[in-house]
């Protein structure tokens, strides 16, 4: 947990502001994050970061949540040779398909390549891990409108379980 926070904070500190992320991949907060990660090099970390963002491109969702996913993939990669092989083969496949560096391709080209590779095993695995990390984070869920645990507030009985106002009579 501490490490993930460290990565996110470091990125912010390094840029002096929230990292602006775009499909261009030109801004490289991951260069720093990658050096902090256990196993990924800069290119791998940056590629995965942009990939995960492309998979779930939420408007106004802070970089740190996507960095959490990369940190999770990093941990898994250092723990399992099979996982490591899968992720690294995936990155290679992206780059080979791009004829160079996928992360440095144009946004349109990047999406084109992802669409072509979406049935590959690495893609599905990263997609699932991204869902695990992003959509189990209550901060992300709250932004989406899922309020989560309610027992500490006495449930939704007095907090709008039946407050719908737009239905026809």
């Amino acid at each position: 947990m501490k490490r993930r926070q460290f990565i996110a904070d470091s990125v912010r500190l390094a840029l002096g502001t929230r990292a602006a992320v775009s499909m261009s991949g030109m801004i490289s907060p991951m260069a720093l994050a990658g050096t902090i990660g256990k196993t990924f090099n800069d290119h791998e970390a940056r590629t995965l970061f942009v990939l995960v963002h492309a998979m779930f491109p939420h408007r106004d969702l802070d970089d740190s949540y996507y960095l959490d996913v990369v940190a999770h993939l990093d941990t898994q990669t250092s723990a399992s040779a099979r996982f490591s092989g899968l992720i690294r083969t995936g990155i290679q496949t992206l780059d080979e398909t791009a004829g160079g560096s996928w992360v440095d391709a144009t946004p349109e080209r990047k999406l084109q390549i992802l669409t072509a590779l979406q049935e590959e095993e690495f893609f599905g695995v990263i997609l699932n891990r991204a869902i695990d990390v992003l959509y189990r984070n209550q901060e992300v869920l709250t932004r989406l409108g899922y309020q989560g645990s309610s027992i500490e507030f006495g449930g939704y009985l007095h907090r709008g379980f039946d407050d719908i106002g737009w239905l026809p009579e």
Binding site: L144, S150, I164, L167
Partner: protein
């Protein structure tokens, strides 16, 4: 706490502590029959039940390997629980009776190619008094003068849309969740986490109803983390005991006067098949060859509507909302069986995975960002029995107990697809009638949560495993207590019927013991 000796052969052993096992055990212990209940899972307390779906999933789901084949999900064909209370921890508590005609399915629907439709060996009228008792015991709303639950936003959307397209049978369901304090348990707080175990105990679960009631009798011992591996019998083909692995992995045998198996179909089947012997080379009580066959679940799919205003479907009781206009049998619809429309919430995580499986990019985030505008329902219909759908044993894969891994094979009958298409069409109309911007079908993405049919009751020992009491034809002191005994499925969620049958079986077992028949 009562403790019984392993050598005590006067014991009734019940395998499983869920809806059927705990009810049979408590009914008999309450009348002075000594019962040992073997439960494979751990015992949770209220402190363990938190409002977090993935955390509770990991805590009480049956995650030991099972292999799905055919149309069953390959890696997770069945979603049920391994914990004290069994699947009553995760059930949504819908408690509807079977309709009389559904217990006469062969007569009602006629012969349908590819099915093994039969009539039940008992009539609805015979089960009705036990439904009465089950509803009272479980505190089912809308029965016994128990007020129904208030409807949440997701219900109000379903109800308004259903009325718009002409449906009239719409209410907040008959559900075993207290609408007010009853039976020492509080009323529902609309927590919104029914399938994660009810943190206040408003939902009926045997963990905090039947089990402690049985423990208060001095005639009941619950042994947790005890996995039954074999049922033993003597030369007279009477069951003599149950071999199990205890919490420390030691092999034990509890002697028994009689055995009731309540392992939620998959484990019930596996145990019978694993208990083969010289006298029963194809599995215990399987002279008919029917153990494991005729496996049924229910037709199940989801409909999600992106509505014109906020719904916040995550707030409140999951399934306190139902439309039953399509519940009956109407041959003009082009399929056999009935349909229920039931409210259901999904978390963003579940939608990210299953709303459009494999989807990524703005296609999915644009929907998730409107999470508060989503309404959702399940369509739920009768699944017809087919002898070719089965639960079996994998030839060489073994689990952590050293037992053969169960294989769940299921192929959808064309009748089921016709029923589902009709139901999805109607479900879509319900949301579209209110101006839904988009409606999604969630098809072929859910594991089975209802399991039935693999030790069917019947009159003929050649074609069925159990008689009308759930007593096996082959072995008079061996009983099947769970949904395995259903000859056909009906369109209703099965638990109320399982409990009614368990109460009825307990009465029968008590008489048999009292008259020294077993």
């Amino acid at each position: 706490m009562t403790e019984f000796s392993l050598d005590d052969s006067s014991i009734l052993v019940v395998i499983g502590s869920g809806a059927s096992g705990a009810v049979v055990a408590n009914s008999l212990a309450g009348r002075g029959v000594a019962v040992v209940c073997l439960e494979a899972g751990r015992r949770l307390g209220f402190g363990d039940i938190v409002n977090n779906e993935p955390e509770m999933f990991d805590k009480f789901t049956w995650l030991d390997e099972r292999i799905g084949s055919g149309d069953a999900l390959a890696q997770f064909p069945v979603w049920n629980c391994k914990t004290v209370g069994g699947t009553t921890m995760h059930w949504t508590a819908t408690s509807l009776r079977l309709q009389p005609h559904e217990m006469q399915a062969r007569t009602t629907y006629g012969e349908i190619e590819g099915t093994s439709l039969v009539d039940w060996p008992l009539k609805y009228e015979e089960l009705a008094p036990y439904y009465d008792r089950a509803e009272d015991r479980m505190g089912v709303t809308g029965t016994n003068g128990i007020e129904r639950l208030p409807g949440n936003n997701n219900y109000k959307v379903l109800a308004a849309g259903a009325r718009k397209i002409g449906y009239e049978q719409i209410n907040t369901n008959n559900i075993a969740i207290n609408s007010g304090p009853r039976d020492g348990r509080p009323g529902c707080l609309q927590l919104g986490f029914c399938t994660s175990g009810c943190a206040v105990g408003a939902k009926w679960s045997t963990l905090y109803t039947e089990i402690p009631a049985a423990e208060a009798t001095d005639y009941f011992e619950l042994r947790t983390e005890c996995m039954a591996v074999r049922i033993n019998h003597d030369e007279k083909n009477r069951v003599t005991g149950v071999t199990y692995l205890d919490a420390d992995g030691r092999l034990r045998e509890q002697k028994a006067r009689a055995v009731c198996i309540a392992g939620n179909v998959v484990e019930t089947t596996r145990l019978l098949l694993n208990s083969h012997s010289r006298a029963f080379p194809h599995g215990l009580a399987n002279s008919s060859g029917m153990v494991g066959k005729n496996y049924m679940r229910h037709v199940l799919a989801g409909v999600v509507g992106l509505m014109p205003g906020p719904v916040n479907l995550h707030r409140g009781t999951h399934q306190a909302g139902i439309v039953t206009d399509e519940r009956g049998y109407d041959a003009s619809r082009g399929f056999a069986g009935g349909i229920l429309f039931l409210t259901v919430p999904f978390t963003p995580e579940v939608l990210a995975r299953l709303l459009i499986p494999g989807a990524w990019g703005q296609r999915i985030t644009s929907v998730l960002e409107r999470y508060d505008h989503l309404a959702a329902m399940l369509v739920h219909g009768e699944d017809l029995p087919q002898e070719s759908n089965f639960i079996g044993l994998h030839p060489d894969r073994r689990d952590q107990y050293g037992l053969p891994v169960p294989v769940v094979h299921y192929r959808e009958h064309p009748n089921s697809r016709r029923l589902m298409q009709y139901a999805l069409h109607q479900g879509r109309k319900i949301y579209e009638s209110l101006g839904a911007a988009e409606v999604f079908d969630m098809v072929d993405v859910f594991p089975a949560t209802h399991n039935m049919g693999t030790a069917r009751m019947g009159k003929d020992p050649e074609t069925s495993v159990c008689n009308r009491w759930g007593q096996t034809h082959d072995i008079e002191n061996l009983f099947v207590s769970d949904g395995s005994v259903f000859p056909t499925a009906g369109c209703e969620n099965p638990t109320l019927t399982i409990v009614a049958l368990a109460l009825r079986q307990a009465d029968y077992v008590y008489k048999q013991i009292n008259s020294n028949a077993i």
